[in-house]
């Protein structure tokens, strides 16, 4: 089969899965919806593999294939088809998305058991995977925007999955609103590109762009900036990042899938896909690089101070995506995408481990209440630590090769980029620190009561309550289910976490500089038209960068060990000395408060003004009331004729007859 045929199959399986689970949920007993959904994604992954194999069969020059299913829109000057583009970049994204999604589906089969909305969960999850695959396979901007919007909708549905929790629904709305800002940016960007090049499909736009725009032409810069707005909203970069920590209100598999491995990487994919345009607009690329760097630093600082386990991982995600954005903005496409893949592995793994721990804690997510789970949950401990080490960039784990490769590229570009690279290394130090912090806080130290109970074999069943506000809840539909699940007891969770752990360890094999550059070579057909194709650092420079990164990782981990386990007083001393800084970090640099004051309040006030003044007074009173009054006044004359009195009617008759006779008299004379 041709690669494009496989491509359509990749899209078809999740869509069918969604429809089957959504429409037939009443007929599917027990955990069958979960298995069906997972099977659908599994088949999609197999089709992606088929797509890969058949693409590799093609000679290198012909690895960009477009297949169109349906002419969606054909008007004067504008045409858009339902078309997919199969090339190494999209194949890579499909593999990552479908592969990691399959493992997360597997994990969710047991994690979401006893939740009353089980089938709904899997229907949404399949819909999300379909949307994400649509996004990455799209062959033109129109279908991209469609996939983009679907993904946003799926994210909203899944964040507010436990819809009777007000915190969850508020978080869902926040995510959606910020995503819409990105959507608007993306649409405007696509329009500007269409205006300049006259095409909407990737192949057409990228071929026409160098002729249509000079370097740093205002229009292409504006278009790229708008595309960046879209990318930043979806990938939770500064300043549109506030939705991602709140999105942790969703179930943990959702956090793993959407907010670590796939949806948030859509922005990175977008920048990589539009790289010919960004190379024509270096100003926009620089903006991307700066924002990426600022984000990775900011998020790393907050992650060091946050107290909710899932939020630490969320800020870690924001930070790591900052690395990816930095990578693709400095034209280190291979490195950025490589990091995307390894990040998907270890971040999903971390979330899965967190889900297991939170299950053991009976729903409590606060780091302050956790400790000493090492003996009670050995499997979770091992896999979580593997993920944390990969995150930190411990030598020879996958994260080591990918993250530090980006930084090596950045430093190699020279000039102002050196600053960005240095900041990246500082943040790498912080990353290692907070990764170690998570491991040491949760698994080391004296065991808490839940851990001790688990050691005896008793899974703690806490009060059913909102972990954020402590409000009591029940276990009916719209709230989490009654049971909690830990990896040690559920084999699907174990299988998924084990697979990801293995990948997190050996994933680096694909991109060892100088030894195996399978990854780079694979992506070459997509990126060989890049201007920076030959500015890659040599192997020696790369190994130097990697070594530096590895050293920082070890320092960070050691520092965490020292602070948390060896010398707890040092912690309190540091906190007192850097008290103000700590408060700043814990309050997330007050971004939420700034937005609340600068954006939310004025908009709410405008709404209230609109309702009271414009609507009530003006529209209701003047326009509606005025019209009514006018009509009433105008017809009052007619109404006054209807007196109901016989004699006035008779008089009118007579007058009318007289008038007629008069008229005829005049006419006849």
């Amino acid at each position: 089969m041709s690669p494009t045929a496989y491509g359509w199959l990749v899209l078809a399986f999740p869509l069918v899965g969604t429809l089957v689970v959504a429409l037939g949920w009443k007929a599917l007993p027990g955990r069958l919806p979960g298995w069906i959904a997972s099977a659908a994604i599994g088949l999609s992954f197999v089709a992606s593999l088929g797509m890969l194999v058949s693409l590799l069969d093609q000679p290198e020059e012909e690895r960009q294939l477009v297949s169109s299913a349906y002419t969606y829109l054909e008007t004067a000057g504008m045409s858009a088809d339902l078309s997919i583009l199969v090339d190494p970049l999209s194949v890579f994204m499909c593999l990552v998305v479908s592969g990691v999604s399959f493992l997360i589906h597997l994990y969710s089969i047991s994690y979401m058991t006893s939740d009353r909305g089980y089938s709904r969960f899997f229907a949404y999850l399949n819909f999300f995977v379909f949307s994400m695959l649509l996004l990455v396979l799209a062959g033109n901007f129109v279908l991209l925007i469609v996939g983009w919007a679907f993904v946003g909708a799926a994210s909203y549905l899944l964040i507010s999955f436990w819809y009777r929790r007000t915190t969850a629904t508020a978080a869902g709305i926040k995510a959606f609103v910020i995503n819409v800002i990105g959507d608007v940016g993306l649409v405007i960007g696509a329009f500007l590109l269409f205006d300049g090049t006259g095409a909407l499909d990737y192949v057409g736009v990228f071929e026409a762009a160098p002729d249509a725009f000079a370097t740093n032409d205002p229009q292409i810069v504006a278009a790229c900036l708008m595309i960046l707005v879209g990318a930043f909203a979806k990938s939770a970069q500064l300043p549109l990042h506030t939705w991602l920590p709140d999105a942790m209100e969703g179930p943990t598999p959702v956090s793993a899938l959407i907010h670590a491995a796939t949806m948030v990487t859509a922005g990175v994919y977008l920048i990589a896909r539009c790289h010919p345009l960004f190379e024509l607009a270096p100003a926009a690329a620089d903006v991307g690089a700066i924002i990426g760097t600022a984000t990775l630093l900011f998020a790393a600082t907050v992650a060091m101070a946050a107290t909710d386990l899932k939020r630490v991982i969320a800020y870690s995600t924001i930070s790591q995506i900052g690395y990816m954005v930095l990578g693709v903005s400095v034209a280190a496409y291979g490195a950025g995408l490589f990091h995307l893949m390894t990040h998907a592995f270890f971040k999903a793994l971390l979330f899965m481990g967190a889900g297991s721990v939170i299950g053991a804690m009976g729903g409590i997510q606060s780091l302050d209440r956790m400790g000493g789970f090492r003996k009670a949950m050995p499997f979770t401990f091992v896999t979580f630590t593997v993920g944390a080490l990969a995150l930190a960039g411990f030598p020879f784990f996958s994260g080591f090769f990918s993250k530090d490769e980006i930084l090596a590229y950045t430093l190699n570009r020279g000039g102002g980029y050196v600053v960005l690279g240095v900041v990246g290394y500082i943040a790498a130090l912080m990353t290692a620190f907070y990764a170690g912090r998570m491991v040491f806080r949760v698994f080391f130290g004296p065991p808490v009561s839940e851990a001790r109970e688990l050691e005896q074999g008793l899974l703690h069943h806490g009060e059913h309550a909102n972990p954020a506000t402590g409000e009591a809840e029940d276990t009916d539909v719209g709230f989490p289910g009654a049971e909690h699940h830990v990896a040690e007891r559920e084999w699907p969770m174990k299988a998924a976490m084990a697979a990801l752990a293995v990948l997190a360890v050996i994933g680096g094999v694909l991109g060892i500089p100088g030894v195996t550059d399978t990854f780079e070579r694979f992506l070459e057909p997509t990126f060989e038209d890049s201007r920076f194709h030959d500015t890659a650092p040599g192997d020696g420079a790369e190994w130097l960068g990697l070594a530096a990164g590895g050293v920082f990782a070890l320092i960070g981990l050691a520092a965490a060990y020292h602070y948390l386990l060896r010398d707890p007083e040092l912690r309190l001393v540091t906190r007192r000395r850097f008290g103000r800084l700590h408060t700043l970090f814990v309050n997330k640099w007050y971004f939420d408060e700034i937005f609340e004051a600068a954006v939310v309040r004025p908009v709410a006030a405008t709404g209230r003004f609109g309702r009271t003044v414009v609507e009530s007074t003006f529209v209701q009173g003047v326009i509606v009331g005025g019209t009514v009054g006018l009509v009433r006044a105008g017809t009052s004359f007619a109404r006054s004729i209807q007196t109901g009195e016989l004699r006035s009617y008779a008089a009118l008759l007579l007058v009318g007859v007289s008038g007629l006779v008069l008229y005829f008299l005049i006419v006849a004379s």
Binding site: R639, G644, E645, L646, R647, A650
Partner: protein, 99 residues
């Protein structure tokens, strides 16, 4: 004795009847004035019939008489019904059709 004399007389009676309809308050008397108007019309019809020399006008007037009789029957029936229900026999008081 020209035809025009009869027609003018008929017009005069018609207008007297019309004035009566507009002026009087009792529906009984209004009906009577209506009869005046109808009869005036009959007179005009018969005068024209004489003028034209054929009897179509007379037949017309006969039918008008029949119609007037029917109308009187119904009108008086209504007045009787009004009286039965203790409504005032006064057209100025009957204004339910007021818009």
């Amino acid at each position: 004795m020209d035809t025009s004399w009869f027609v003018v007389l008929s017009a005069f009676i018609f207008c007297i009847g019309a004035a009566g309809v507009l002026t009087r308050r009792s529906p009984l008397v209004i009906l009577l004035c209506l009869e005046l108007m109808l009869n005036a019309g009959n007179l005009a019809l018969i005068a024209f019939s004489r003028m034209a020399g054929n009897q179509d006008g007379q037949v017309f007037a006969l039918i008008v008489m029949v119609v007037a009789a029917c109308e009187v029957v119904i009108g008086l029936g209504i007045i009787v019904a009004m009286y039965r229900r203790r409504l005032p026999i006064d057209v100025d008081a009957m204004s339910e059709l007021r818009g």
